[in-house]
């Protein structure tokens, strides 16, 4: 039997549970051609880290990420820690030729994201994979949405809107205020814009701090985005929208049709084709995205058996580890470090526009020369 592919996880936050569950579930979903095992967990806080290691059933635990990155049982690194801890371990692992799946946002800003994308590019030629954890790309309805958009059936996308609304910053937040920003925390909506084939040209944004307690960072923003080729996108985010727990709505209006999706009803994609109106039965199709021939769903259940939020992590790891095991690049629908960088550029454009009160172009935010690695 082939030796197991060892995965080392950095970070002991709640998202670690989602990834660990996915990695453990993978063999039940699809044969990857090689066993997969989480061999080590690293986290700075010894109590919290040891507890998480016990919870996800990992024997080896360290408080030093370097030990994990260099450990011979670790073939692949999952960097799931807070964004401030993304750069150094990720660069170290890539330098050792170890593939990395790094959570979003990729870096604290576009400069760091550029440096990480360059680090990934430097080893890509030797077959080392790097993926950014935009897991919502993997929800089946959004996979299907991308295929429909790329097929051209909606025509040219001229209007994109995405909103991500939650109220955890007000209602019994289980997390202490750690300075995380709404703009980068909700980078998912920024990534969805590009995932559905749109490219930003410029941004006008406003943001607001809506919760008195906590550090002086925004809890909400709204942004208007000019699209390449003509068109307009709007992005809206709040973590202080009372009543909403996980309302992430994505909508694309094209010249031939439209589609929309809401994460609260995540198995459904609503698709409208203007051509249907000819016979009086035009309307949004309520597509239950559970068919085995829908993208990524072949190994899952018979049609009509719904999937949950956690399935996005399982799909994400399925594609990433398949690429690692088979020596292929990650698939086009998976987020690369370049995608992580592009998201960071747009996030920084939003922050800059909100701060300076002006229209900010993507071009002026682009990073041509990444800074040297800090010590």
């Amino acid at each position: 039997m082939t030796a197991a592919l060892g995965i080392g996880i950095i970070g002991a936050g709640w998202i670690t549970r989602a990834h660990a569950l996915a990695i453990r579930t993978l063999p039940h979903l699809d044969a990857l051609g090689r066993p997969v095992r989480i061999t080590m967990l690293a986290a700075r806080n010894p109590e919290r880290g040891a507890a998480m290691a016990g919870r996800i059933g990992v024997e080896a635990f360290t408080t030093d990420w370097r030990e994990l990155v260099e450990d011979p049982t670790v073939h692949v690194v999952a960097n799931l820690t807070a964004v401030a801890g993304h750069r150094a371990p990720t660069e170290a692992a890539l330098a050792l030729g170890k593939p990395v799946l790094c959570e979003k946002p990729l870096g604290v800003d576009r400069l760091e994201a550029r440096a990480l994308a360059d680090a990934a590019a430097a080893v890509a030629t030797t077959g080392v994979q790097a993926a950014c954890g935009f897991n919502y790309r993997y929800l089946p309805a959004m996979r299907l949405a991308r295929e429909i958009v790329l097929s051209g059936r909606l025509g040219r996308i001229v209007r994109f809107r995405a909103a991500y609304l939650q109220d955890h910053a007000i209602v019994a937040s289980p997390r202490p205020p750690n300075g995380s920003r709404a703009v980068t925390d909700y980078a998912h909506v920024v990534d969805f814009l590009r995932y559905l084939g749109c490219e930003a040209l410029a941004v006008q944004a406003m943001s607001a701090k809506l919760v008195e307690a906590g550090p002086d960072v925004e809890d909400a923003y709204v942004a208007a985005v000019d699209l390449r080729g003509g068109g307009l996108a709007s992005l809206e985010v709040s973590r202080a929208a009372l009543g909403w727990k996980g309302r992430q709505v994505v909508e694309a209006n094209g010249t031939l049709g439209s589609l929309w999706w809401n994460m609260e009803d995540l198995n459904r994609l609503h698709v409208f084709y203007a051509a249907d109106e000819a016979d009086g039965t035009g309307g949004f199709r309520d597509v239950l995205v559970t068919q085995p021939d829908h993208p990524g769903l072949g190994p899952w259940w018979p049609a009509g058996h719904t999937l949950g939020w956690e399935s996005s992590f399982i799909q994400e790891w399925h594609d990433f580890l398949s690429a690692v095991i088979n020596g292929h690049p990650i698939p086009a629908h998976q987020a690369t470090f370049e995608d992580g960088y592009e998201a960071a550029v747009l996030c920084d454009a939003i922050l800059t526009s909100a701060l300076e009160g002006r229209r900010v172009t993507i071009q002026e935010m682009a990073v041509e020369h990444p800074p040297a690695v800090p010590n």
Binding site: E147, G280, F284
Partner: protein, 381 residues
């Protein structure tokens, strides 16, 4: 319902400026004189008639609308027909198909117009589904599933109104809202050949109503101090019906379904596709048709001006502007006025009323006997 018909008639000229005949509201009669006066004031009737006889016999009245408890419609309709008046009768026309047939024959003999007040078949969305069915878009219809759920009777303090007495209502919730299930089932799929059914009464005694109790819940009347009386009709009923065309139907109605104020849903399944409608979203319908397997799913179609009867009611001129419940009554009255002007029978007339009642007769017999019961349409209707 008199108020609903009145509101529809008042709105008719505005919605249908080209109507050949416009209604004029002349007189209203009710055993409760206060109610009659209030209705006359609200909608501009020229007078309150002392009783139904006076109203039916008046020279300046051409058409009589009967919206009484089922057992009380017949004498009014017979008198109106005998006086040569056109007649519209709210559903259910009568306690039985035989009584309804007598009303039909009287109108036919007197050569007066007769229209059945069954509003839901006039909903543009329901009509659109009807057209899709008749166009063969759904293929051969295999089944219909319809439910009409309410909760007004879940409260045991709701008094013993006429709706809870067989003597006046002719039955319980089946003859009342189950009627709509039957009428829409016939409208969409076709005639019904036989029925299997169950019914149940959950609240068997109710307080006697106060003198002025009106509406489903007996509002305004207060409770009587005279004690309680027995409920002798059903609170809920379910039926399996066999259509003459080979399809089957599942019908369910209840007035003790807590949380359902008025939930009326219809689903139609054919060999090629499906359609559904829900009164809580009256101006849209769902349809699933063959096509691209990748985006297989029900389309949520908003009623638009191209749908049957919708153009006049979408006063915003476009889909997305709601029509609502009153709109279907207006559509019905526009059809009746047009039919009267053209000297023809209404689409939905007493023939439909007789057939609807025949299905309900079979339903009650089936619920009592526990056996599959044939629908018997009175001879000559």
């Amino acid at each position: 319902m008199a108020g609903v018909h009145s509101a529809a008639l008042v709105n008719l000229p505005g919605l249908y400026p080209d109507l050949a005949r416009r209604p004029r509201l002349v007189a209203v009669a009710d055993v409760n004189l206060n109610l009659a006066k209030a209705l006359a004031d609200r909608f501009g009737y020229e007078r309150v008639a002392p009783d139904a006889e006076a109203l039916v016999g008046a020279d300046d009245i051409d058409l009589v609308v009967a919206c009484l408890p089922p057992a009380l419609n017949r004498p009014v309709v017979l008198a109106a027909a005998a006086a040569g008046k056109d007649v519209v009768c709210e559903k259910p026309m009568a306690e039985s198909a035989e009584d309804a047939a007598e009303m039909l024959r009287a109108c036919q003999a007197a050569k007066v117009f007769h229209g059945l007040g069954a509003g839901y078949r006039w909903s543009p969305a329901v009509r659109a589904i009807g057209q899709i069915v008749r166009d063969g878009e759904l293929g051969t219809i295999r089944s219909l599933r319809a439910s009409f759920m309410l909760d007004y009777a879940a409260d045991p303090d709701v008094p013993l109104l006429w709706r809870f007495q067989k003597r006046l209502a002719g039955g319980g919730i089946a003859i009342d809202t189950g009627y709509h299930l039957v009428d829409c089932a016939r409208f969409l799929v076709g005639e019904i050949a036989s029925v299997q059914a169950m019914s149940a009464t959950f609240i068997t005694e109710r307080p006697l109503p106060g003198a002025d109790a009106v509406g489903n819940r007996g509002a305004g009347g207060g409770l009587s101090t005279r004690g309680t009386g027995p409920v002798d009709v059903e609170d809920a009923a379910a039926a399996l019906v066999a259509f003459e065309g080979g399809a089957y139907g599942v019908l369910e109605t209840s007035r003790v379904a807590i949380g359902r104020r008025i939930s009326f849903t219809i689903e139609v399944y054919g060999s090629r596709g499906s359609a559904y409608w829900d009164l809580e979203r009256p101006d849209e319908f769902g349809v699933c048709l063959p096509g691209d397997a990748f985006t297989f799913g029900f389309r949520r179609v908003l009623v638009n001006p191209g749908h049957p009867g919708a153009a006049e009611l979408l006063i915003g001129g476009t889909d997305g502007t709601s029509i609502g419940w009153l709109g279907q009554e207006c559509a019905m009255w526009a059809e009746f006025m047009t039919a009267i002007a053209e000297g023809r029978s209404g689409s939905a007339d007493f023939t439909d009323g007789v057939r609807d009642s025949a299905v309900l007769d079979a339903l009650y017999r089936a619920a009592e006997s526990g056996t599959r019961t044939a629908v018997v349409v009175p001879a000559g209707t």
